[in-house]
Every structure is written in C-alpha cells, then in structure tokens.
C-alpha cells in the first residue's frame, strides 16, 4: 500500500505492507515511524488507542478521523494522510 503523508515541508510517500487483516491508521503510522522513518510526527504522546481520549485526529483522504479507530482495509492501494484542521505543529500533529 502506498501511504502518502503531508509532512511540514513536503508530501512524502512510504510503501507499507499489509500488517494484518484489519488494521488502523495508527497501526500504519506506527509502522512507518518504527520501521521506515524515525522523524515522522503524528499524535502519539498521551494516546489511549481505544478512541477514549479523542486526540489523534488526522485527515484520511480529506476526512477527519481518529487514527486509532479508523480501519484501513487490507485491499487499500493508496492512502493520503494530511493534518486535521488547526494549527499544524509538525507533520500530522495539530495543536488541539
């Protein structure tokens, strides 16, 4: 799957394998950060990963979702992640 991320200064694409039969946007971001690019910034500093804190909002193909709750089907070919509305801190992190 080709994942394109709106970073602070450019669009950057990553090739991400199908991690599981069902995964979330957060799983995809974790994979990129842990394996492909240690400089990627996305909301992760006080995160519940159970849609309880509501803080990991990001746009998937232009639509705001919680990264930890939004499913990425395994047949996805391309995914575009951009920052949600608000003051962008860095990459996908928005002050909320």
């Amino acid at each position: 799957m080709k994942v394109t991320i709106q970073r602070s200064d450019r669009l950057q694409s990553y090739e991400v394998p199908v991690l599981a039969e069902s995964m979330t946007v957060m799983n995809v971001l974790d994979y990129i950060y842990q394996n492909l690019d240690h400089t990627l910034a996305y909301y992760r500093h006080s995160s519940c990963c159970q849609a309880a804190c509501g803080r990991c909002v990001v746009n998937v193909d232009g639509v705001p979702v919680l990264a930890c709750a939004k499913e990425v089907p395994p047949e996805t070919v391309e995914l575009l992640l951009t920052p949600a509305r608000g003051r962008v801190i860095r990459d996908l992190v928005v002050e909320r």
């Binding site: 991690l19 599981a20 039969e21 069902s22 995964m23 979330t24 799983n27 950060y33 842990q34 240690h38 400089t39 990627l40 910034a41 996305y42 992760r44 500093h45 006080s46 995160s47 519940c48 990963c49 159970q50 849609a51 309880a52 804190c53 509501g54 803080r55 919680l66 930890c68 709750a69 499913e71 801190i89 860095r90 990459d91 992190v93 002050e95």
Partner: protein
C-alpha cells in the same frame, strides 16, 4: 546556560488524572499555590479514561455519605480490610489499607458531586454489590468539572512532560521537563512536589494509556527515593485480534457471567482447552470477582506456558458451542448494558455486533492475550503519602503499599483517596519550608537534550520495541527463572546501548525525544522489576512462577525494595507488620490454593 522557562509555585503536581486532580483540590483548599504539569490533557489522560468497570466502597459509607439507602451493609470496612490484607498476599501496609477505607469514600463523595454537577456523567449504583458502574468518559467529565470548580487558580501546564525531579541538599524542590509541541524546556521551583503519574507498562500488548512509562517511579528513584514490589504487575484478558481492536479490555468483561451471557471455552491456538478446574473452590462469588483476574492468569497461564515458544501470549475464547444467532444475540445483550456510556451497540469505537460477526467468521473464536492493566509496585510512601526523600509526595498508581502483590481494591478509589491526603500533606510541607534553588537543573537539562545533539546513535523507538519484546518473552504474567534471566541480561545490554540515544529532527514534537525519555524510565522500572522477580524464588500474587509455584510464606513474606545510591541500584527487603490482622505463616502449594484458602475461604473437599 540552557535556556528554559521558570515557574514558581508552592506545590507542583506531576500528572493530570484522578490522583493529580484530587491532590490539586486538596492542596488548594489548604491555601497553597499549585501548578500542575501533565503529559497529556488534564482529566483526559492516564488510565482513568480507560476505565471499563466501576468502583465500590463499604455499605455503611455508601449509605451515610452517599445516601444510598439500599446499599448492602454486608460490605463492612472490616470485611473489606481483611480482603485487602489477604489479597495483598500479606505484603500490603495495613495502616495504608485502613486509611484507604476511610479516605476512599470521602473522595468518591466528591467525585459523585462533581458528576452530578457536570451532568451527562452516568454512574449507576448496584446496591447488592455496593458498586457503581461507570466509564472513563464519565470519570473524566466529573474530574474536569472538579478541577474547574474546586481547584480554582491551579496553573495547568498541559502537553508538558516532566523528565526529572530537581533537588537541593537531598530534598526535592522542583522538576524539569519540556513542552511536547515546541520542545521548550520548563523548570518548576516548588517547596514540595507530588508525583501522580500512574504505573509502568513495558509490554507490546496494552490496554493502558501510552502515558504508562513509569516516569514518576523512575524520576523518584533518580532523586534518591525508595521503591518496592516492582515485580508485581496485574494482567487481564484483552483483545489480540482483530488487530483494529487490539488492546480492548472487552474479553475481561466477557468473563463476567452477570455481564456477558455466553460462556466461552478458553483454548490454546491448537484448540486444546486451557483447563480451569470445575472445583467450586476456585470459582469466586460475584463479590470476589476481582480475584478472578489472578485465577485466570494462573490457570490459563499454566496451559499457555507449555507452548509459549510456539504461541506466545495468545489464546482463544471459543464460542463454537453456540449457533451464529446465539452469538449475535449474546453480543447484543452485552452491548445493551454499555449503551448508556458508549452509544447503541458500541464499546468505545468497537461495534459489538461487528465484533460478533468477526468471531463467527473466525470459526467462532476470539483471539485474546493477557494484558497488563495495573502495576502494584511504585514509590514507597508513608500514610502522609510522603516518599523517602524530603519534599517529595506521591499519589495513585505510582505509589506502592496499599495492594501488595495483588490489587483487590479499586484503582479509582485508591487514586482519589491518595490524592486527598497527598495534596494536604504537600501543602503543609510547603507552608513550613522555604522554596530552595535546585542544584541540578542545568545538568538535568543537558541530559534531556543529549539525544537531540548527537549526530548518530541508537533509535529510542527501536530500543523501546526491543525492550517490549524482551518483557513479552521473559517478564510476562507467567514466568520462570531461565526466561527471566535471559530477559534481564538482554535488558542490561539495551541499557548500555541506551547511553547513545539519537533523536533526529529538532525539538518540535519529536517522538524520538519522547521515547528517549520513556525508554530511560521503563528500563529502570524493568530492571528493578526483573531483578526482584528473579530473586523471589516463589509465587505470590501476580508473580506466577512455573519453576517455583509455591507461595512460600516461611521465606518470602516480604517486599523487595530498591533505590539508587551514587547511580547504582541497591536492593533491600521490607517486612510487613501485622498492625491489625495477623500475617499468614503457612505455605501454599500454589497461588490458586492460597486464594481458595485465604481470600475465598473455601475448604478443600
């Protein structure tokens, strides 16, 4: 000098969840100036927002303080006290346990008032069990309201990670950290500091908030404070798959017959049943359900451990005795119970009917694993919640002493009970002591920034993932000496590599910097936990050993303590006192028998 913002206050509270907020309310009511620094958002961070069950107090207090006329008076303070002592496997501090039973209901009375005033914060009272059912969402709304109305004037610094305590002449006099978004350093000068940062969680399968990196425990140690009971970590069944729901505690809720109508068969991944004996003495009555967490760890763990190399921390809840419709109906009935808090058919983001369909599609099996819910170990405190270093206080899960080797009481009640006392004590200390200038701020600032200044080195997240793998393998809910030794040796190697962490990309929201901080803290917590676990050549509470199954009261009825002296770990022992209830001198063949005989008081057939 490294540039940093300086904030002066009387009492600094580190953390922004239940223990922190109740401490803030109490310190403010004593007239102290209070600042609160929290990694996430105040009242929307920590494990409090993950809560899935509820809380209980004694019947008399429910009736007198909370006006629950129908509260079950059979739950007396005495009976709860005895349960706390035995469930702690005698390591609990009996003075703290008595204090908890007095302070807890007062703290819960405040929470209920805040919940009423805030509205849309449902707490449902079950008189027979003398228990309120609730959710993390309800708790956060109540606590947010409490912070706003009853702790007026508290200066709150959100999205601010405290990385170290600051000291002067051996006393704690502040803390240093940074703002996550900007990377700017911030230094607090305070007469006293309360740590309310929660527990530690070093495994890859999690149901806890990502805040749980043992920050408070580790920074207290670096400031010279003593910790104990670090080998005791509590586990519950949580979801492994579907991956999109991984970490949810739903499977634990499914183990309660009064909540979930279907009875699953636990099996390993080869379909072999994980035997849980029929014998009634191992089956707790509803009022003792807390201990079922430990019994499941023991019985499932025994079966799983034989194939640990093959399957690891994975097993099934098998529903194949039910038809598809029965499964759908069962999950629908389960969902109806949670609608009030999570919306129709939902539990947080999980559509329970969707989950039921996933179970059906997966040969009627749900894949689960044992996930760490709570850490019993932490900072040693007295009944004023003072740590062993002057000026330092602690409250909530970050402390140790109340629950010993197994938490049978409610973490939510602990957090508010502790917060109340710690806030007051820290305010009194601040009133009696001048604020001092920290001696070590510059050095701590330099240490914090080191990973940003290197041009190459180890990736913090890389090492953190390795640490998680090591703990999954050798420090999990079921243990043996050889696996623990392997884990301990591997941990020491990671510790060496962690001297050279590298966090590229500047200060602004740098996840590698955050993980550098977390890794250092987790490593220290795990080192102490693993060393204590290796030394404890018996099983006790949540420390379940395959090679030493016996609960050996003759030789091990004590806590392992640890502290840093000149940078080196020094271990010791601390023996419980029988202040009001006798200690147990008999040994037991294993943890399950000990539970049956002493907590459940079931005679052997």
């Amino acid at each position: 000098m490294i540039q940093r913002e300086v904030v002066e206050t009387d009492v600094l509270i580190v953390g922004g969840s239940g223990a922190a907020i109740t401490a803030a309310v109490s310190a403010r009511s004593e007239g102290a100036r209070v600042a609160m620094a929290v990694k996430g958002k105040a009242a929307n961070s920590g494990n409090m927002i993950m809560v899935g069950g509820g809380l209980s107090i004694d019947g008399e207090s429910a009736k007198q303080l909370l006006h629950k006329e129908d509260a079950n008076l059979a739950y007396t303070k005495r009976s709860l006290f005895e349960k706390l002592v035995t469930s702690s496997f005698w390591l609990g501090d009996q003075e703290m346990q008595r204090q908890f039973l007095e302070e807890g209901p007062l703290g819960i009375r405040d929470v209920m008032r805040w919940a009423d005033e805030a509205g849309n914060s449902p707490f449902q009272f079950k008189p027979q069990a003398c228990r309120w059912l609730t959710s993390g969402g309800a708790f956060k709304r109540a606590l947010k309201h409490g912070l706003r109305t009853d702790a007026d004037g508290v200066e709150v610094f959100e999205d601010t990670v405290i990385t170290d305590l600051l000291t002067s002449g051996g006393a704690v006099c502040g803390a240093i950290g940074y703002r996550v978004y900007t990377g700017e350093l911030i230094e607090f000068h305070a007469a006293s500091v309360i740590l309310a940062t929660g527990g530690y969680q070093p495994f890859s399968l999690k149901c806890t908030n990502s805040d749980m990196t043992g920050d408070g425990i580790a920074m207290a140690m670096r400031a010279g404070a003593e910790v104990k009971d670090m080998e005791f970590l509590l586990f519950i069944p949580i979801l492994q798959e579907p991956t999109r729901f991984r970490g949810s505690l739903l499977p634990f809720l499914m183990t309660m017959a009064n909540v979930f109508p279907l009875a699953f068969v636990p099996t390993d991944l080869d379909g072999q049943e994980l035997a849980y004996p029929e014998d009634a003495r191992y089956h707790p009555a509803p009022e003792d359900m807390k201990v079922s967490k430990l019994l499941m760890s023991y019985f499932y763990g025994k079966g799983m451990y034989q194939k640990w190399d093959k399957h690891g921390n994975r097993f099934y809840f098998d529903f194949s005795k039910y038809s598809d419709q029965e499964i759908l109906d069962g999950f629908a009935a389960f969902a109806a119970r949670y609608g009030k808090w999570h919306g129709k058919n939902m539990y947080h983001h999980i559509d329970l009917l969707d989950l039921a369909r996933a179970v059906i599609a997966n040969k009627k099996r749900l894949m689960v694993g044992m996930g760490n819910e709570y850490s019993m170990g932490g900072i040693k405190v007295d009944t004023a919640f003072a740590a062993t270093v002057p000026g330092l206080y602690a409250a909530g899960e970050v402390t140790v002493g109340l629950f010993g080797a197994f938490r049978s009481g409610d973490g939510l009640v602990e957090m508010v009970a502790n917060g109340r006392v710690a806030g007051k004590s820290a305010a009194h200390y601040a009133a009696a002591h001048e604020r001092r200038m920290p001696e070590d701020a510059e050095q701590r600032a330099r240490e914090l920034l080191q990973p940003l200044e290197r041009t190459e080195g180890e990736s913090p997240i890389g090492l953190r993932c390795e640490l998680e793998r090591i703990c999954d393998e050798g420090f999990n809910f079921y243990r043996d000496g050889s696996r623990m030794q392997t884990a301990y040796d591997a941990l020491l190697r990671i510790k060496e590599r962690a001297e050279h962490l590298y966090a590229p990309g500047g200060r602004c929201y740098n996840l590698e910097l955050l993980n550098a901080v977390s890794l250092r803290n987790l490593l220290l917590c795990c080192e102490v936990g693993l060393f204590s676990a290796l030394s404890r050549k018996e099983s006790r509470g949540c420390h379940l050993r395959e090679d030493y199954p016996m609960v050996d009261n003759e030789n091990f009825c004590f806590s392992y303590t640890a502290k840093l002296v000149d940078g080196a770990l020094v271990y010791g022992k601390s023996f419980p006192k029988a202040a009001a209830f006798p200690l147990e001198h008999r040994n037991f063949a294993n943890v399950a028998d000990c539970i049956a005989d002493t907590i459940l008081r079931r005679e052997q057939a």
